[in-house]
Amino acid sequence: MTIDTARLREDFPILSREVNGRALVYLDNAATTQKPRAVIDALTHYYETQNANIHRGIHTLAVEATEAYEGVRAKAARHIGARNAEDIVFTRNTTESINLVARAWGDAKLREGDEIVLTLMEHHSNIVPWQLLAARTGAQLRYADIDAAGQLDLDELRSLIGERTKLVSVTHMSNVLGTINPIAEIAEMAREAGALLLVDGAQSAPHLPVDVEALGCDVFAFSAHKMLGPTGVGVLWARAGLLAEMEPFLGGGEMISIVKPEGSTWAEGPHKFEAGTPNIADVIAFGAALDYLDALGMADVREHEKRITAYAIEALEGSGGITVHGPHDVEVRGGAVSFEVDGVHPHDISTIVDAYGVAIRAGHHCAQLLMRHLSVPATNRASFYLYNEEREVDALIEALDEAKRVFGRVESRTAV
């Protein structure tokens, strides 16, 4: 079924506000998405009716809060096609999920001479934790290149993965280029080498139907706030049995079984990795976001984004003086669209389009390796979600036309 954006936009209070005297055009969804009323209400509902600490009380509120919190584990598992809710750990964000693996798995498993294979299109959150791990263990980092079309060079990636490889960590969808990587193929390479495969799903879980079993990865990480949920909630899924092999991450309450003066034993399952009082309210509200997405259906979300992304790429390149980075075929890319405007720096673009109420991102998008590869200091990025409409792309194009006019004044004179 096609997504009815006109009806759906009424669910998002912020979309009716004005910015600089114009209707807000929010095209920064790869950074964070807006929240539907149901998510905002879930937060208030929890604090007004259920607020209690979880897992440590037998009074009614504690039981209700615990059930609501644990219920979201199952919803998160279902969203990514995972079989067991017990394989889902709640963290603060994708970054913390990846750091958790680097500490709890990496510190014990990696030795000097081992190799970690990454790609040049990774977000800093999927680079820096491994650099720190490499510094602690003496492991080496290898980076797979990308081709001119903005896609992974799979032959090169295959040649990098060998018997020294202990971990392959790759993004499912680039936050800059929109490229969707062929995870199942990469999983095959990692499996043959006996390496663990971590997938950074921060940009895919919100936008694509995801099935971790079909992808064949070992670990999948994503963030609630990029998929209609509140900030402060991340998810880590690990294939059955892997969490049990990992050491604790943070120590404290909640993550223990028995504490004695000489040492402690650990809680089972995901609780071993959830030390201290977790972000109860936001996890519960994330459940409302997952309900909202599941009611729409991720296949329809994906179809809607394919349409608007194709429209945007054509409109941008058709308007003149604009180059879109990354693949142009929407079958192999998502809705994060980076582009350059000839002769105008992204910050100048961002300032001008903001005056038109249009929110886009300008900068390196936490992907400095990729910026260097593209030989640009920064890019403009418009990124779409389920509530965006084609008229919003038109508003962006109109604002970009003004930027081109302002910056064309001197050029057109000196060109004479």
Partner: protein, 152 residues
């Protein structure tokens, strides 16, 4: 619905675009006495600055950088304005320039072309772009001060 058309010709005055397209003193010095570099990590603007000081006179300046029109034109205009003057004069221009941007003070005639950047004061998130090269200059001059105190 009536709505005001945004006016960017005032922020991006032609003199700014001119310095952005054809930066003055772009490049490197062969034997600078002072050097510094700086970046705005949030947005990626970068400036590397070479300065040659003789006595207390700034004889030569050159900069390399990448970034938005505000950061790069500010560097170009800065070198043009303060080169040939004393460090004390450069400090004074720096103060006038910061007052124009941060306190939205009326531009001082002493600023010359730098006055063109006054529109940036209306865009708080862009003020750091215009100030980057001055931060780098300050660092270069501070290094000079530290060296001066340790040199007999």
């Amino acid at each position: 619905m009536s709505r005001a058309e945004p006016q960017f010709d005032e922020l991006y005055r032609e003199v700014i675009l001119d310095h952005y397209r054809r930066p003055r003193n772009a490049g490197a010095l062969e034997a600078p006495t002072h050097q510094a570099e700086g970046a705005n990590p949030v947005c990626g603007d970068e400036i590397e600055l070479d300065v040659t000081v003789e006595g207390d006179v700034i004889c030569e300046m050159a900069f390399r950088g990448q970034g938005c029109s505000i950061s790069q034109s500010s560097a170009s205009m800065m070198t043009e304005r303060i080169c040939g003057g004393t460090i004390g004069e450069a400090r004074k221009i720096m103060q006038l320039f910061e007052a124009q941007l941060v306190d939205a003070a009326e531009p001082d005639p002493e600023l010359g072309d730098l006055e063109a950047l006054q529109g940036v004061a209306q865009f708080p998130v862009r003020v750091k772009c215009a100030l980057l090269c001055w931060k780098v200059l300050r660092e270069a001059l501070n290094i000079d001060e530290r060296e001066a105190t340790t040199t007999p």
